[in-house]
Symmetry: C2
């Protein structure tokens, strides 16, 4: 059986530890600078908690570095694991940062957001995989196959773009919903009225080209509604700027098509 050691105890480390554990792998050690954090996670997956890199067993088959981007660069200075498979989990960091740590290195990144206290179905998680060689890529794919069936080979350059797109749909998408929530709540309207609309908007992604499915006042050049809505936003300079910019972008992108 393959043994896995996790460096990190944050959100990504927690979910990966559980996903690997559920898939039948043995989690050997969990490292965190804070012993309590290491222990809390280690207890859940029957692993040994440690808070010093010098306590790492060099014998795990796989080391997963699930830490903040900056910490990855520090680890690259401190950690030498020779022949083990060493993986990082960062969307925005190049594969090459791991080169000094081990010859066999790779990236396992899942463009996913976690809702606190809500359990995930890991088998539905997409994983983007990059290996330092075709053999290593195959090796990582085999490692992940018991965890999820949604595995994609994505190189460092593609991952940068994918990360940008993930920021847009997730962070910007949430911000747009949050602004709507603010508007709604300051006029004593229950936000649940918009729940089905938000769910339906997300549902549209499964039905092809999204510009073709674009609707609304900007798309149909309904200037009367646009003017009314701009008037509502007159006191909020940033929101008005956003409204105008998105209206322009929508009109530009839907100009030629139906």
């Amino acid at each position: 059986m393959k043994t896995i050691t996790l460096i990190g105890s944050g959100n990504v480390a927690t979910h990966l530890a559980k996903a690997f554990h559920n898939a039948g792998y043995q989690i050997l050690q969990i490292w965190s600078r804070e012993y309590d954090h290491a222990e809390a996670l280690a207890n859940q997956v029957f692993a040994e908690p440690i808070d010093k890199l010098s306590l790492l067993y060099p014998t795990a088959d796989v080391y997963v570095l699930a830490v903040a981007d900056d910490a990855l660069f520090d680890l690259a200075l401190d950690l030498r694991l020779r022949d083990a498979l060493v993986l990082h989990t960062a969307g925005a960091v190049s594969l090459n940062v791991l080169k000094p740590i081990s010859r066999k290195h790779g990236v396992v990144w899942s463009p996913q957001t976690f809702i606190r206290d809500v359990d995930m179905d890991y088998s539905e998680l997409p994983f983007c995989v990059e290996g330092s060689s075709p053999d290593v890529t195959t090796h990582i794919m085999e490692l992940l196959r018991p965890v999820s069936s949604h595995l994609f080979e994505i190189d460092t350059q593609q991952r940068q773009w994918l990360h940008l797109a993930a920021v847009m749909v997730n962070n910007f998408g949430n911000a747009v919903n949050a602004m709507a929530q603010d508007i709604i709540q300051s006029h004593n309207i229950p936000f649940e009225i918009l729940h089905p609309l938000i769910t339906m908007t997300a549902e549209k992604i499964k039905h092809g080209g999204l510009w073709q499915q674009q609707t609304g006042p900007a798309r149909r050049h309904d200037q009367k509604t646009i003017d009314n809505q701009r008037r509502l936003l007159a006191d909020d300079k940033k929101m008005l700027e956003l409204y105008d910019l998105l209206t322009e972008i929508i009109q530009e992108k839907t100009k030629s098509g139906k």
Copy 2:
């Protein structure tokens, strides 16, 4: 049994006609300027198609005006229905436009988007209701109760804000997803990798305050990632502007709390 006549044959008229028909109401007539359109919908709900307002039976209990905003103002000049209940379905139009048509008037607006060729579960649709008097509001609520259990009393001013919020979550939300789809596809990455993330982003609305749930480089002031992503967008002035504006808004809105 209540009889309902529909003025209009577009998306909203179609879905409402089906929803009322499914709920057991008799649809008397369907009017459209294009006879073919009236007929296509009328056939589905066992109604009589007409293409002239002069052919309207004055005996229906309820007239639903589901037409474009501008056409509503035209109808207000042409249509006199005295004691019938007359409803419009527009998010952005005041209740008062119906005053000349009938004493008993109201608005039934559903902030919803329809996916072409995808059937809807109407019982999950939220309806925002406004009546010309408390009695009329009660009357409309009773009319809709067999159609949906998600009924909300929303006045004209609230409806304007709700409509703005709906434009944000639906039209702006779709636009943000569409831009991500463009980026993804121009780098030969399968868009399905982002499907679970988009679904999860929508799912967050059920878990409380959305600014508290905000994540990403803007939220954590991760300037290195922000700079990298701005560099990727350097050739697309509008997208860069949008990236900067949303980054600013997120940082401002999440400044004080966690």
